[in-house]
Symmetry: D2
């Protein structure tokens, strides 16, 4: 089994998420990075390609060129990872999808709803697959939580409490030269949402994945605490579900002491679940009236849904990169099945267009609600 | 030093909070229980009094009788603990206050705002003191948190996240014969709020105590998940502060796995604090850009505000009863100073009328907001 | 029910454990402190008595006087708490026991085995009860652990790992004026063991209580890390049990970061238990092949043995003082039954002479082993 | 940069550690697996090679063949991973070292001391490198702990407490068809030590790495709890260091509830450190007299030694595979420097022969001590 040849758009020197995608693609041996347009600055792209040991002929100055040329090569890439800032997702994705090259795209789907729709149209018509890396759904215990909710372990769902708190934008990092911060606080590059788009969409997606449902209405109180910041750096959101459940979604990038605090709590009329991304190999499960259980990845009573995406035994922690790699590996399974003209097994799971559009609607609804003083907005 | 003679209204056999007040009153040796009207049913009151070893002559069939007679005795009670359901707070409190007997009253202040105002009027005119047992403010690390916020350890406050989650009303306990549940879900006895009044007021008070401020507006999404329940058993509340801070306050009695989950998180532009009632001897403190610190009660770097209300060294856990006893001991200090015609030291701290009225306004505002589809209500 | 009249030997101003005993005696309302010989210095004794509001006629200059006079009073004390340094346990205990006054004595039993045996002889012949305050056995979850082991929840016991780590003697506190430190490092007052006697006996007792058995042999590696210290401040001990189980017992007062780290882990062929004194309301239980359970005091699946000694519901933390008070309350039950000529219920449980002598043998065996280069010593 | 061509001995279908080595080799892109002798059974070796997508010409029936042929190829492997049971380490290692092929070998060094010495001799004379995968030293916070001890953050070291507890051999898994269990309890394949060799050597190595020193004497109490088991499944070990420090090392594979419980605690006269493998991104640090700090990988105050071997930001957990990969990447750095005739930077760190021999001596000393009733054995 050789890896699927992969290209990359973005992710040049100094970027964070590009390196993550490269490790994720490599970890399970399912992809080989062979081409890239790593930066809009040709010199940077070439330097990055050289550093990665790529054939210079396959390091491109722009993504369109790469799409055209790779599509023509016999040994051309079959998939491309798009790891640019939000406003640069749709453009490249469309170029590759049009040419039948599978796209693995960082979240959120795009910076604007208009772009998102344009991308969606192309993706729907393309024979290539589109995978959106809401990577937290790759964690084994999140897969297990999803399975537990689906089979009714919590009873009827009543409460959804999800939060994603960070602290790295507590001070104006964007003014201090942080490239990571700069584009994330710039509406032109980030889109409508600041923290909302960057991490809120992850929280939204995670809750949606585990519960198998989404709110029908939200009310959002957005703040920009750091002076001069246009986009939100904090959001407090109420949620109402069609089935009667209620929820809250908290997002912050100004909460000192929170490094990457994505946490999910679900309560039904029969039991509850709690999970925290920084301790991802464990899942608290409480049946009403029974002692709390601390379930562990691949531990006693492990769920097949978790075991399926685990690599090593209980007590040997898997982390963020493994969860990310799981999405790549799910993508590889889907691609191989697709190319063989088969359906992937029903267990193959990854976020795609639908999740991307949902995230875009979520951000838009929050912004709309905030403009109307946190009034309810129907999704 | 002999204990201050104390009476009790309510708290007969089968009650929960009456026993807590008795231990709290006794723990530091500041009070002696010598009289009581423990139940509206005379036989029950007498049986309770006998069980407690009281002089039968000082066990009364009703609280008014007790107020009258004890006020006349030379060795009469100087303070009374009121531990009845919410709708029975104001009546007794007024009787004792009118006669110059200090009142230590369980929260919330009363079942209705009208009663609360009537009580407030009497209390303001009485020479006796009124103490409201928002007992969680008695925890040493909560005193320390208050001191830290006050002296600016967090910088300018931005975020207030408080929650109080329980699970004991997940099923209709009120229909299964739980006395504790019965009155709490009955509007006639509990008042406007269900979980809101029972535990939401604690969360509100705790956040107010530690931050030294209160929101100017709230928006509340209330639910009654258990069929047939009239009052809320869950509340998701947004908060806005005059100074620009934002917050959330979550309340639930239907969250399986949560026994008594009162938790507070505060974030300013310089640092954050986190505390959980079930692990009360510890307080997380994070200065922006510095390692997280786990402060312990009376441990290295303990704050005088915490040490002052601690009884034993670090590592020897104090709990709920000690925190409750601290309010009694603060009350005793205030009473002794008051009777000596002196002011208690500025460090003597306990919740009183102002906090009680604030809690009443909080519940009323939530209910009003909920009726208007979670619109903002100014406090 | 009026409290049993209680006297106290030791515990004057500046002492730690005296105050703890007073709160413990008071907390459940089972005792009333009415007399005391609080210090070998008469002025100090009187000042302490005055501070405690005692009748000056019942504040004594020495304990023998107190024993004689109180025994003669009609309303004399029926029990005495002995809270002096180790070398001052046996003398007072004998005086009171001889006169039929029940003794509640701090641990260890005494400073020397000779004294211990003398005390034992008197106690065996006395009609009064002798209670030794190995207070950690008063924790509800320790009672539950004991019940679980006894009924075979762990299967056949294989491993006993107990440790008691502190840090307060990391530096020579005895040279810096700490009274608490001074006598504990002085062989004349502390006895053969330093940390061993002070906290090692607690660890030994705790393991013995929960497992219901004691090692038949130990091997001890003792250290005195702080220069000039004669007695041990650290001990690493191997244990072998008759039934084939093995264990370790670690003791330290020089382990920075450990405030009062008494921890117990037990493993049998069917399951394991873990408990830590600083988080006393929880008990980890793992059945082999099943998810880990976090049992909580009075929580779902609470054991009657824990509920019996709990005062408040799950989620409302009880702490060190409550556990200590439980021993006092057990003592009160035993005293009342004894005085009524009845046997206390089989559930009434407290450490007594046997546990005290066992602790003395433990310390002696450790010291003997250490002198022989950590060779095995049979108990 | 292309990966270094790598071969593998062992690790065929059904093996655990082989898969781990393959991911570890791949994760940072430093190695490419191109050849293998995956099993002593040729069919199995070929099936494994096919599954891994290797050129069939480079899948060998035995390791000697592989060493000979690969050494001759121009594009032959430059390194080999040896992932067989203990008794099959030395043989292959010698074949490859003799031919100048770098060896990355699983621990322990070998099954017998005789073999170990033979291997050591060859390794010392070979121009190729020898790397022993004591993978836990690859964790960033372990690197940080090492740096902190080295620069004196703990002051003078007094106490070393290390333990490695598992539960997977609580029952006779070897009789139930577990291949992993079978060879580990078989003296012919495992060597002198059971749990000692399998995981005890890891604990020994970890303590040695972080402290920078090793005990001069140990006393070991070994047990074989499961009937019929010849080798130890539990060990309680006392340690004495030349500098005066004392320690304990606990090893168990029969402790229910422990999945992979490798934990280290160090205490000096100025501070303490605590780390647990199942929560590897955090490190507790307590300076005497200061609040406890919870250091996080790449978090505020991160040490360069940890940052150097981290891939992603704080709050994004790295796990077991990343730590393992770090050893591979260190090996790659050493190999590249070596082949360039240069010394690797002083920061390049990996366990090698010395650590392997130390582990062998440790196991032998424990067994010798146990035979003499846990007497001290000098190392």
């Amino acid at each position: 089994m050789r890896g699927i040849p992969l290209g990359m758009v973005g992710g040049g020197q100094g970027a964070f998420i590009g390196g993550v995608h490269r490790i994720a693609a490599r970890l399970d041996g399912q992809f080989r990075l062979v081409a890239g347009a790593f930066s809009a600055t040709p010199e940077k792209s070439r330097a990055s390609g050289a550093e990665l040991g790529l054939d210079p002929a396959r390091v491109y100055d722009d993504y369109r060129q790469m799409a055209i040329r790779e599509a023509r090569r016999k040994d051309g890439i079959r998939a491309v990872a798009i790891v640019t800032p939000n406003h640069m997702h749709a453009g490249p994705a469309i170029e590759f999808l049009k040419r039948g090259i599978h796209v693995i795209c960082d979240k959120p789907l795009s910076a604007t709803m208009a772009e998102a729709k344009r991308l969606a149209k192309v993706a729907e018509q393309s024979k290539a697959l589109f995978v959106l890396t809401h990577n937290y759904t790759g964690y084994p215990m999140i897969r297990q939580a999803h399975a537990m909710v689906a089979r009714g372990d919590l009873g009827r769902l009543r409460l959804v409490q999800v939060e994603y708190l960070q602290d790295w934008l507590t001070e104006p990092a964007e003014a201090a030269g942080s490239k990571q911060a700069e584009w994330r606080v710039d509406p032109a590059r980030a889109g409508l949402g600041g923290a909302l788009g960057d991490i809120g969409t992850h929280a939204w997606n995670l809750a949606g994945f585990v519960t198998g449902t989404e709110p029908e209405a939200i009310a959002a109180d957005l703040s920009s605490f750091v002076p001069g910041r246009v986009l939100d750096d904090n959001a407090h959101i109420l949620m109402r579900y069609a089935g009667g459940a209620r929820g809250t979604l908290l997002v912050s990038q100004v909460a000192p002491g929170n490094e990457n605090g994505l946490r999910l709590r679900l309560y039904g009329d029969k039991g509850g679940l709690e999970w925290a991304q920084e301790d991802p190999n464990r899942l608290w499960f409480t049946r009403l009236g029974a002692p709390k259980q601390l379930l562990s990845r691949n531990g006693a009573g492990a769920d097949p849904a978790a075991a399926r995406v685990s690599r090593i035994p209980a007590g040997h922690p898997e982390g963020y990169l493994e969860a990310f790699a799981t999405l790549y590996t799910e993508a590889a399974r889907a691609i191989r099945a697709h190319e063989a003209g088969e359906a992937p097994g029903p267990e193959v799971t990854y976020p795609t267009l639908a999740e991307g559009l949902s995230g875009m609607r979520f951000v838009a609804a929050c912004v709309q609600s905030a403009r109307r003083n946190a009034a309810w907005v129907t999704l």
